[in-house]
């Protein structure tokens, strides 16, 4: 198991964001994390990569307890992530952004080596043409790719993708899914949050469903799609329910 999450509980004031979340992620898989808005998906990511310290529970990454470790320590152990709300380093060029990932990721590279790795990562996500532009000048789809390149340049064992498909048009989604598959084929394990149901059902080996901070279902995509609890969780959103049922 590359990642084990055990009984993770997180509260913000009166809001119970996560309650006893437990799951395992075997190496080399794509694990999809779905759930209605506000279910605690991004919070779970923040607990896994050290941005938040959970009230209770453990996060074990490659056999090591990383709970309550600062996020930079977790990053250096080979866990990279992208952000739902993209966070490019605006005044730096696209290449420099990715070089930060390479310099400070799992392998600590010199600037020269980082430049080469950054160009590799930018080629992989299809942004190499824009390497010298300021990152602030990219559009949303490109910024999402930039986040992925930054994460890839860190040479992680596990990558957390937070809604990399949101806001993309259908052809961009198809291209991004290819990129995600290619990353998995490189041997990097993936945990991804996604709202685009068809995409996540198609690409994931397994799916987890969070609702109000509780893990209500886990299993193969088709099992989860037919799980009555999951359908109920989405009933507030008839369109998504229909999508789920269509799968």
């Amino acid at each position: 198991m590359i990642l084990q999450v055990q009984d993770v509980t997180q509260r913000f004031g009166g809001l119970q964001a996560l309650t006893d979340v437990t799951f395992d992620l075997p190496e080399g898989q794509i694990l999809g994390l779905i759930g209605p808005n506000g279910a605690g998906k991004t919070t779970l990511f923040n607990v896994i990569n050290g941005v938040y310290s959970p009230e209770r529970g453990k996060v074990i990454f490659r056999g090591e307890d990383v709970t309550r470790m600062p996020s930079y320590e977790v990053a250096r152990r080979g866990l990279a992530r992208t952000h739902q709300v993209v966070r490019p380093l605006h005044d730096l060029s696209v290449r420099e952004n990715v070089m930060v990932g390479a310099c400070y990721g799992r392998e600590k590279h010199s600037l020269k080596e980082a430049r080469r790795l950054a160009d590799d990562a930018l080629t992989q996500v299809g942004l190499i043409d824009r390497a010298d532009q300021p990152s602030g000048s990219l559009n949303v789809a490109q910024k999402k790719r930039l986040e992925m390149a930054r994460a890839l340049a860190a040479k992680p064992y596990l990558i957390l993708l937070d809604e990399v498909l949101a806001g993309l048009n259908p052809s961009e989604i198809a291209a991004m899914m290819e990129t995600v598959r290619a990353i998995r084929d490189q041997g990097i394990t993936i945990l991804m949050i996604e709202h685009v149901m068809q995409a996540i059902m198609a690409i994931s080996d397994r799916i987890l469903v969070l609702d109000y901070g509780i893990l209500i279902a886990a299993g193969l995509p088709e099992e989860v799609a037919n799980n009555p609890q999951v359908i109920e969780a989405y009933l507030g959103d008839p369109k998504m329910t229909a999508q789920l049922l269509a799968e």
Binding site: R87, L89, S110
Partner: protein
Amino acid sequence: MKPWRNPGFWLPLVIVLVWGAVVLLIHQDTMRETAFILLMAVGLASSLNILLGYTGYVSFGHIVFFGLGGYTGFYLLSEQGWPLFAAAIGGGLLSALIAGLVGLAVLRLRGAYFALATIGINEAARAFVSNFEPFGGPTGMFVNFSAYQKYGGPGEALWITFIFLWVTTMVVLLVSYLVKHSRFGLGLLAIREDEDAAMVMGVKAPKAKTITYIISAFFPGVIGTLYFFKNGNVEPGDAFQLHMSIEMLVMVMLGGMGTVMGPLLGAVGYQWLRGYLLTSPIFKDLHLAVAGAMLLLIILFVPAGVVGWVRNHFRRLQKVLE
């Protein structure tokens, strides 16, 4: 790329090198005094820029390191009989040490809270030194005349102090460039743009910020020692002047924060303007008001400063102006 092929690397150094050499050759006291004040401004502004420009942390009370380091160096030199070189380094090291200790606490603060805390540190240091008897309390210290004799009398000592400051200024500019173009510096720029995102990418922000704070505090301590030795006395009112802190900020912002050349141009430009204002009958009491107004206008209209503006508008000059 080899640094000496990059004009952005050697241009600031050559400017200061030639400038100091010309002053030494002409060997005129008034010219030396003017150059001393200007080089001091360049050194202080560049030191502040290493923190402000690269990490984005606004230190409003940075002059505290000039004051404390200057006091310590002066004490070592005048009371303990240390040679100027050792005393200046001693002053710098004390400033660095204080920055390391204080930084662990205040660098946890961000934005306005950090800026306010640094003002508090300056005021606290002033109050402490005013009541610290070994440093002469509120009246300060006067240089022991024998300290000048070692250097062939006061006249020669002033020239030696000038040479020291000249070299120190070049070292600050060199360090500023090296930090900016290192792996460490890339981490700092990432912190400046988005500290949380930088940490998620693996940048050890608390450690990197503390090291930067230490570097940017060391040089003001050295410069302070040289300045007070040149003046012949040191007192709390001169050592911890908050308005000098603000003027340092104006110089960095005017020239362009986060650039190597910016603080050099900004310091010279600001000091030139200040000299004009102080001697003009209309403005002589208003030079700080003008500095404040300038800071406001720069932040509103040219936040990138002169160098940043030129870099953005003339892409070919990007290689020349770092």
